[in-house]
Symmetry: C2
Subunit: 445 residues, 2 copies
Amino acid sequence: MMHAIDLIRKKRDGGELTADEIQFIVRGAASQAIPEAQLAAWLMAAFLRGLSSAELDALTTAMRFSGVTFDHAGLGCVTVDKHSTGGVGDKTSFLVAPIAAAAGLAVPMISGRALGHTGGTLDKLESIPGYRTQLSLDEARRVMDECGATIIGQTKDLVPADRVLYDLRDRTGTVESPWLICASIMSKKLAAGLQGLVLDVKTGSGAFLRDYEQARFLAGLMVETGERAGTRTAALMTSMDQPLGRFAGNWIEIAESIELLAGKRHPLSEDLLELSLILAGWMIHLGGKAKDAEAGKAIASEKIADGSALGHFRKMVAAQGGDLDALYKGFGFHRPKFRRELLAERSGIVQRVDTTAVGWAVQRLGAGRERAGEAVAAHAGLEVHFKIGSRINAGKTLCTLFAEEESRFEEPEKLLREAIVIGDEAVQPPPLVREIVTAENACSG
Amino acid sequence: MMHAIDLIRKKRDGGELTADEIQFIVRGAASQAIPEAQLAAWLMAAFLRGLSSAELDALTTAMRFSGVTFDHAGLGCVTVDKHSTGGVGDKTSFLVAPIAAAAGLAVPMISGRALGHTGGTLDKLESIPGYRTQLSLDEARRVMDECGATIIGQTKDLVPADRVLYDLRDRTGTVESPWLICASIMSKKLAAGLQGLVLDVKTGSGAFLRDYEQARFLAGLMVETGERAGTRTAALMTSMDQPLGRFAGNWIEIAESIELLAGKRHPLSEDLLELSLILAGWMIHLGGKAKDAEAGKAIASEKIADGSALGHFRKMVAAQGGDLDALYKGFGFHRPKFRRELLAERSGIVQRVDTTAVGWAVQRLGAGRERAGEAVAAHAGLEVHFKIGSRINAGKTLCTLFAEEESRFEEPEKLLREAIVIGDEAVQPPPLVREIVTAENACSG
């Protein structure tokens, strides 16, 4: 007979729990058989003691199978996915999912909502009139079968243990543990039975994990956990030192993505396009459709050039109820009630950006939410007219702000003015990808 | 505005909490304003990170003043007390409280019940027909005023934060922290506004803290915490390698104590008498009635020799409703329904005793309880006919077992047979007091 108290003591004293013991905790969490106080004590002990590889695998596996899984073994398709640790202006999902689908892969992407200073893939998609993110797993499977990709929200019956544990971690100061973050992310990704997974692990001023070493450690854990579970996994250590692309918000991010899928380029969207092609290249490679990521990237470029990626995106939007007319209009459909220009107060070169503050500015404009369950404004957000290293003249527009109420501008303007640092030094833009972590170099232990 | 989550994170990351922050947690625990899950996470972080001296003082103080205090500032008396970390056959309270009272001190002793393998002072006292342990603080104050000593149970309004936190620690694997143990013990003792306090910190096979270094660390923390709070405090590191005295149970422990108070000695009670005199000597010294503990011990011996200690004990028992007739009868009042002799299977010398197992045997005989709230048998228990180093002949009685039901004997017999190790080597009995910890040598930091 297992008792939670013994497992708390074992972890507290630095012992290694067996897979059965970890499963007891995860099941007890999901079924509420173990009281929150005991789970909280166990989580804090795990936070401070860390987990061994075997414990991490056991935790990830127990969480993965705590509910139904979204497995496609019978569909005769190769499934791949991409996961990002979250950023500002990060809209790569809208490019990589249809690109991979166009390359003959299946993408069962389960996404999240705006959280804190970062935007939410679901909120962005819901700015397309009619787009439904809350599909049943059967509906989602049909969309994927038909369109090659589906982007949906978490369902109640998928990895329920993560919902319980994440909620508790949020209240008990046990969120920022690399092992617990890894188990939370990987259990949800592995529940989709993927053949290949590319992780976009962001660092820099707008990332949740700003410290490079910590982010690298997490990336190693995730790659090892994925590989040990039989999913080919790679992680890209990418820069979140400034917003990705030109826009941050909801509809304007969709519009920027459609432009790129349609082959229309813009100097300030080049980083977004490049990162999307690299990520898609890895998906195509890990899914077995290219001998390496470089070859995958070339295929990704082709899928944009021949229009097939855009076709897959439109097809998916239509299948999930989205209005294709709005999609055709792109920026023409952008209709915020109010606009405000933020002008440069001095001439010079953009030195650095506090991207977390930029994210909060976007949230305060109405594109994000203060608390779970709140509605977001589809057309609120920000256009950024510079990159780190850009030369700016005094009086020229740094950012254009969009909101549904005029009173929304004051705080974001202040945040942005402090967040964007203009100086005299010449600055090299930060590298888009700092390191690629694969099974060969993951080595977190 | 303080938030529990920030204080969890601060402790988790090794920061030092301010006194206000610690008070916020303690008040939140007592008022249930902070949810158990958050308290549990904080307790585990404190368990694994430890507390600084300032944090320990703040925790002890906040707990001490979380309810009413049992302070005697207006009574014109000098209050002293003794606390034991718990053992088997430990009945020193029944000797030291009346001895200190006879020496002109006031002893407001708040005691506990049987817990696990250790006996409970209150359970033992309640084996005296009529003795009431649940007095109000006003009643207890009157008894102490009249008799010099009172031994009562914890009341609901005294240190309520400890009750909440201890209960939670018990469920979340955060009991065995020296800092949390120190705050729990010292907050309750300091709530009685003591001038002097002697701590009996037990180590060895029957102690909660078996490891000497851990127990010594706890003793140092408690002495420093007491001294910093203005209470003269000393700790004796004592042996719990075998039961203390001849008897372990309820009434038989009272009877053994009365014999000693009456000046009747027995070779197997000598360790109990000696430890009681040493402890009482420290109480008398710390209470300012003797220049050192040695002089205090001499006074303690006098108070037994002149019968005044026994007189104070009888007076206290009568004042708390106890039947003096039973007390006069002593062992003559001992009336267990069943007795069983445990015979030595071989001749030899007692090498060592698993005193925790002996304690469990006493508990299973009916003298202790399986769970809180259960009744205990007043006349169940154990007489021990040896000490470590005693020569025993095969077939002679090792222990006499007492119980109210014959079915109670089987398990204790088995436990005792395994617990008492007889061999051929000559063995030195363990020293009664291994070290004395005072302000001069406490140095826990």
